[in-house]
């Protein structure tokens, strides 16, 4: 079923063309990576679909409704720094559930705290957590309000490479358990091939859709699978990089 629809999105910031004629259809439950070099407008695109920015041309619809403002059915996850430092882990996860009955709220909070592996840290403050834990906390806060779409803006960019790998595995596990539609912005080619159902390759500014690559490898993905390497190298080629150093 069609979930998110980008129609001829164009964006100009003070004379600078940032995005041009973006068309994309995302089906429900799909994991999409928006991949492109720094400054290609991929974060801008995510902010448009998140309702934080209005495009100069075109429109985004979700379930047929035009996006005009942020909505709690679609939660944006930032790079770990989006968690509220004045709240404990439990209070952060429960942030979007204030209207809910206490019992339900407590249950949901406990469920998602455990799901992201933060059991035992319920009363800790973000400053007492590692970068990876803060990132998981933010994902739990997003999931707790049961959104149908998650937007992730280079969520693992600030983490070390080992933690980043673990976080990808965690995210895939959660995605498979919760079946959310995910739009994930990254500039990391490997990351996009490891995670996505489809990788949307954007060109440098102004961002245009260069190509959409289907990643037809079942999860869990073997990173030495010839198909994985083939797809990865195709994208490297698409971006104009030889895969060697």
């Amino acid at each position: 079923m069609m979930k998110v629809q980008f129609r001829q999105i164009g964006m100009t910031f003070g004379g600078t063309r940032v995005l041009d004629d973006i068309n994309l259809s995302v089906t429900e439950g799909e994991f999409i990576c928006l991949l492109g070099p720094s400054g290609c407008g991929k974060s801008t695109l995510l902010n448009i679909v998140g309702g934080f920015l209005t495009p100069t041309e075109g429109e985004v619809t979700i379930d047929g409704e035009r996006v005009t403002a942020p909505d709690r059915r679609r939660i944006f996850v930032f790079q770990e720094r989006g968690v509220f430092p004045w709240l404990t882990v439990n209070q952060n996860v429960g942030f979007g559930l204030v209207g809910a009955p206490k019992k339900e709220r407590d249950e949901r909070v406990a469920h998602y705290v455990n799901m992201v592996g933060l059991g035992g840290f319920e009363s800790s403050y973000p400053r007492e957590l590692s970068g990876g834990m803060k990132q998981r906390l933010e994902v739990a806060r997003a999931l707790a309000v049961n959104p149908d779409v998650l937007y992730l803006d280079e969520p693992f960019g600030a983490l070390d490479s080992i933690t980043r790998l673990q976080m990808r595995r965690e995210l895939l596990r959660i995605w498979q358990a919760e079946r959310k539609t995910i739009l994930f912005v990254t500039h990391d080619i490997e990351e996009s091939v490891q995670l996505a159902d489809r990788v949307v390759v954007l060109s440098a500014r102004p961002g245009r859709v260069r190509r959409i690559v289907d990643i037809d490898i079942p999860h869990p993905r073997d990173l030495s699978d010839p198909r994985y390497i083939q797809l990865r190298d195709e994208i490297f080629g698409e971006i104009g990089l030889a895969h060697q150093i």
């Binding site: 709690r72 679609r74 930032f78 720094r81 509220f84 942030f95 400053r127």
Partner: protein
Amino acid sequence: MRTRFERVVLPLLAAAIVLLLWHGAVLWTKTKIFPSPAGVVKGIGQLAEKSLLWRYIGDSLFRVACGYLGAVFLGVPTGLLLGMSRRLARATNPLIQMLRPISPLAWMPLAVIWFGVSNLAPIFLIFLASFFPVVVSTMNGVRNVPPMYVQAGRNFGLSNRQLIARVVFPAVLPRILVGLRLAFGVAWLVLVAAEMIAVDSGLGYLIIDARNAGKRYDLVVGGMLLIGIIGLALDALMQRAEKLQFVKWAFRD
């Protein structure tokens, strides 16, 4: 963790040396006017016997509390408002920047004609002195709230009012606390001047009165030291607020 030696012994040692130098200087110059440390303690003791001491301290604390708390209760919401509305800030900023550098002491004549011989005159001066630091630090705090927090708050469907209460206010609270501490320092600083007018009690009055009425320099110096010591104690108390869990994140341990 600093050692006990650094925290307690060193400062006490430094104070002892200064007292010793002071005592020595009084002996060496054979001054009849300037008191020795022991003379100051004796003078304060006499005040305490007449139970004037506690009344003066109480009156001063009361005035500072009124003026300062008034500034906090008006200044924090004003600062929040100015921080959130760029247009309002633009409109009022020149006015604030113009009023701010005027010393509260310059307002003394006006305070007297407006409030007459009453507690209100010094309270007004203390209010003026602490109001602007509170407003400005709160306003700057709001402007420096990471946009991500606000964005996240909106994403969870918060109304403007909820956004202020649940995101903006807790995010600026550490900065507000720093501003409050700063403002308190200024309030305490103008106390002496504020009590030079319109009142006949308080630590500021004690200093002026001791000089005018009998050239009692032991009481002048005693009043100065009392203001310093009480100010230090209150500042230490305020600093402890920075250790509270919900603001601690913004301060280094």
